[in-house]
């Protein structure tokens, strides 16, 4: 859940209250879209979830789409923050990738509404949202760029990270579409295979997959 600071502890003044309400609206957007889908979500739904007035909503956002974009940005920062936080830079690349993927899977399994908003509904919210989604995926794939160390001199395609990320997000998308975010941890070995195979090939990726399934 995105933390909403208790307004009594904030350093004070109407600006702090305004920021709290903005956060509440963004959180509300994530919750409602994650439950009903972007198409079926209305501003009325969001303000009810966030417990703010319509006036307050329109003070912060021009419309549903603008609010969604801001909420999505917040989701991306939150997920990336957790992933980066979970990875020990001292560990080998394979271990860092495994830890990062496990973090994403756990976040999504524990918060299916977050997962649906981040992976499925973002595709529904217009061209700007889709571009941000691909930007976010690109940032994640940069995180994978170190995998090229393992290439040992062979030349990998420039957008190999995008292939790997596309493979992983496709599997997660399918699982979420059938409404089974809670089962994502079971999919972790397959996700790991999908992510690693373009870098290390099916033999080694199968080995990592088995270790993940056993561990």
């Amino acid at each position: 859940m995105i933390q909403i600071p208790d307004s009594s502890t904030l350093p004070g003044g109407p600006m702090a209250g305004s920021e709290t309400r903005r956060q509440a609206i963004l959180e509300g957007m994530v919750r409602v879209v994650g439950r009903k889908g972007y198409k079926a979500t209305s501003v009325a739904d969001v303000i009810e979830e966030a417990n703010v007035s319509r006036t307050t909503f329109y003070k912060h956002f021009e419309d549903k789409q603008e609010c969604f974009l801001a909420a999505y940005d917040l989701v991306v920062e939150r997920v990336l923050g957790e992933v980066i936080g979970s990875c020990d830079p001292g560990e080998p690349w394979l271990e860092r990738v495994r830890a990062g993927l496990a973090t994403v899977v756990e976040m999504f399994a524990l918060d299916p509404e977050l997962a649906r908003t981040a992976i499925v509904e973002v595709a529904a919210a217009g061209a700007d949202a889709r571009r941000r989604h691909w930007d976010a995926i690109t940032r994640v794939t940069e995180f994978l760029a170190d995998g090229e160390e393992l290439a040992e001199g062979r030349e990998l395609p420039a957008n190999i990270g995008l292939m790997a990320a596309g493979a992983v997000s496709g599997l997660i998308f399918d699982e979420l579409l059938t409404g089974r975010a809670e089962r994502l941890p079971e999919l972790l070995p397959d996700l790991l295979f999908a992510l690693l195979v373009p870098y290390i090939g099916p033999g080694a990726a199968t080995e990592e997959m088995r270790r993940a399934a056993a561990g």
Partner: protein, 222 residues
């Protein structure tokens, strides 16, 4: 469908004529489906109205409701048509081409070409579909799965292919659609055919690994 509004699609003469009603209805239906593709490409699914469709297609609102329940149904029908045509064309190229992996390369080349020829349809099939709600999202997934045979043969081709994860073909498809969507979202549909080496690599790599995949790409797409 790069037709001008006047040219291209046949329409029956205005006013009284002796054409059977089902011929007229079919033409009107097709014009509405074409209109859906153009309007969604222009303003997105969310902003598309029935008024947009009837204006673009040159039919009355009454006629629209005779043919479709609502705009979602019209859009989904356009989507089904687009996918059917695409899958048929790709499958034909694939089946004509001998063995895997040549077959996969032929299918992929045709896929990229077909999408580049009709950028509005390409975006509809791969990108805009997400906006039309859960029913549409499930259709997208079903459409993607129809391409599975292109990839699944890799399991027989690869040494140890039988031991690969059950959803390996879904991984390959995800890699390919990821690359294609990237170009479409950036408005670069005309560059899709240039992706052939990369989508072919993405197809092969889960089955035969990066070294062998790079060799096959070199051999078949030079």
């Amino acid at each position: 469908m790069e037709r001008s509004r006047e040219g291209g699609r046949w329409r029956p003469p205005r006013g009284r004529h002796r054409l059977p009603p089902e011929v007229v209805a079919r033409s009107q239906r097709e014009r509405l489906l074409d209109a859906a593709v153009r309007v969604v490409a222009e303003k997105g699914y969310g902003a598309m109205t029935i008024g947009d469709l009837t204006r673009e297609a040159g039919v009355s609102r009454t006629t629209f409701y005779e043919l479709f329940e609502d705009r979602e149904q019209c859009f989904l029908s356009a989507y089904d048509n687009a996918v059917e045509a695409l899958v048929r064309r790709v499958t034909a190229a694939y089946e004509a081409a001998g063995e895997w992996p040549e077959r996969a390369a032929a299918g992929l080349a045709t896929l990229l070409e077909a999408l580049a020829e009709e950028p509005d349809l390409a975006r509809l099939s791969l990108v805009d579909i997400g906006a039309a709600g859960p029913a549409a999202q499930r259709r997208y997934r079903a459409a993607v799965q129809r391409l599975t045979p292109l990839f699944e043969e890799g399991r027989d081709y690869a040494v140890g292919g039988r031991a690969l994860p059950a959803n390996t073909s879904r991984m390959a498809i995800g890699g390919v659609t990821g690359l294609i969507s990237d170009e479409l979202v950036a408005g670069r549909a005309e560059r899709l055919p240039d992706l052939l080496s990369d989508v072919f690599f993405a197809t092969l790599v889960p089955y035969i690994g990066p070294d062998a995949a790079a060799r096959e790409v070199e051999r078949l797409t030079r």
